[in-house]
């Protein structure tokens, strides 16, 4: 008997029982870890399809010693889709691989139960099944990681897009709200954006708000200094707002000279100062009547 034949027979005869047992094990684990992310119905459909494809693949390779799964096979397609889907839901890679590893356990167990006295045949079958499901596990890892990487690339792109807006507050006033950790790349990007905006709108005043910058270390301070210097070189006056006491301590300890810069405690005070510089102010309209 060929080594793949007993597996094939097993799948043909006991598909439903196997699937039941397999899903029971998987759900037991997943329900604890991801109680809100599971759709049992969907999982069942998917698993049946997977077993069917597995059986088909076994038939196709029934003359060989073991089955090799190609990337173009429907089976690998199902596995990849499943893995990518789990990755997007936030599953851990080990928990995703559990799906196939559990199937291996279940299949091995039933093979051992149904086996006759011929141990060499059983061993051959076990090796074949091991080989096949190992290929599937590797596929799971592979597609899971590439899906994750895709998500990460996308996210870092969107962070870059979102993080450095230059806001035109009034005719000659620009606002640069800095949020989050500032690294060299972001610093260069927002400096560039700011300088372009200053020359385009002929801004005489620029308000740089650093309320949202959590840590003021040496490099962050230097980056901000450079931005401020560059803006002043273009002829725009700079108002810094929202520096924390710790930030002030760091900046002074670094010996950076902020004498050309006006500092205000809050964005509100900074905006008022900027408006005064261009000869405007905010008034209470109720008093006018």
């Amino acid at each position: 008997m060929k080594p793949l034949e007993p597996i094939n027979k097993l799948l043909k005869e006991q598909r439903d029982i196997l699937c039941q047992e397999w899903l029971k094990e998987v759900m037991l684990q997943w329900r604890q870890l991801y109680p809100n992310l599971l759709s049992e119905h969907e999982l069942r459909d998917q698993s049946f399809k997977l077993l069917d494809e597995l059986a088909r693949s076994l038939v196709a390779h029934s003359d060989n010693e073991s089955a090799e799964i190609k990337v173009s096979d429907e089976l690998s397609n199902i596995i990849r889709n499943m893995s990518v889907h789990r990755a997007k839901l936030g599953f851990k890679v080990a928990d995703t691989a559990l799906y196939i590893l559990t199937l291996k356990n279940v299949l091995t167990k039933s093979l051992m139960q149904g086996a006759g006295r011929n141990t060499s045949e059983l061993t051959a079958s076990l090796i074949a099944i091991d080989d096949m499901l190992d290929q599937l596990s590797i596929m799971i890892f592979d597609s899971f990681i590439s899906a994750r990487e895709e998500i990460i690339t996308q996210q870092s792109l969107s962070i870059q897009e979102l993080s450095t807006p230059v806001i035109r507050l009034w005719d000659q006033i620009l606002l640069l709200p800095l949020v989050g950790v500032i690294d060299t790349m972001r610093a260069r990007q927002f400096t560039e954006n700011l300088l372009v905006a200053i020359s385009r709108y002929e801004a005489t005043v620029t308000v740089v708000d650093v309320t949202g910058v959590p840590v003021f270390d040496t490099s962050v301070a230097r980056h901000i200094m450079k931005t401020v210097d560059a803006a002043q070189l273009l002829g725009s006056r700079v108002i810094m707002t929202g520096i924390s006491p710790e930030g002030a301590l760091t900046l002074t300890k670094l010996g950076l000279n902020f004498s050309a810069t006006i500092c205000r405690s809050t964005l509100k005070a900074g905006v008022a100062e900027a408006l005064q510089m261009i000869g405007k102010c905010i008034i209470n309209t109720k008093e006018l009547k």
Binding site: A248, F258, S265, E273, L275, I282
Partner: protein
């Protein structure tokens, strides 16, 4: 030795009347900064009338405190530098006290008030008092 920090509206007043140890000086610096940030102070007057000796460390602390307070959006005036202190500081290097100085506390407060009055955010203060 704790230096009391007095609050006059949105002006803070700190009078250093004894010789401070280095730790005390740094503690005073920290407390003043926290207080400035807490009340969003518009002005700070540091009075050193009673200090007969100002060493280079103390001068540096005063100078640093002044620039930190400026970063937090407050105007800073140092008042009451004694003649001998002034001479020593000049010998050691004028930049030791880079902040603006006034003759006495009264002059310092007047200077602060006129500077604060010319600031843009005073417009908003008037709004607030009407609410």
């Amino acid at each position: 030795m704790k230096i009391p920090i007095l609050k006059l509206g949105r002006i803070l007043l700190a009078s250093i009347q004894v010789d401070l140890s280095d730790e005390d000086a740094l503690q005073f610096q920290g407390e003043l900064l926290q207080e400035i940030a807490k009340i969003e102070a518009l002005g700070v007057a540091i009075d050193i009338t009673s200090m007969d000796v100002v060493d280079s460390f103390m001068a540096r602390v005063i100078n640093d405190t002044a620039s930190m307070a400026r970063l937090l959006g407050a105007e800073v005036i140092v008042s009451g530098v004694q003649p001998y202190v002034a001479m020593t500081l000049v010998e050691m290097g004028r930049e030791l006290i880079g902040a603006d100085c006034a003759f006495n506390l009264e002059q310092a407060l007047n200077m602060l008030k006129s500077r604060i009055a010319s600031r843009g955010d005073m417009q908003l203060e008037q709004d607030n008092t009407h609410e």
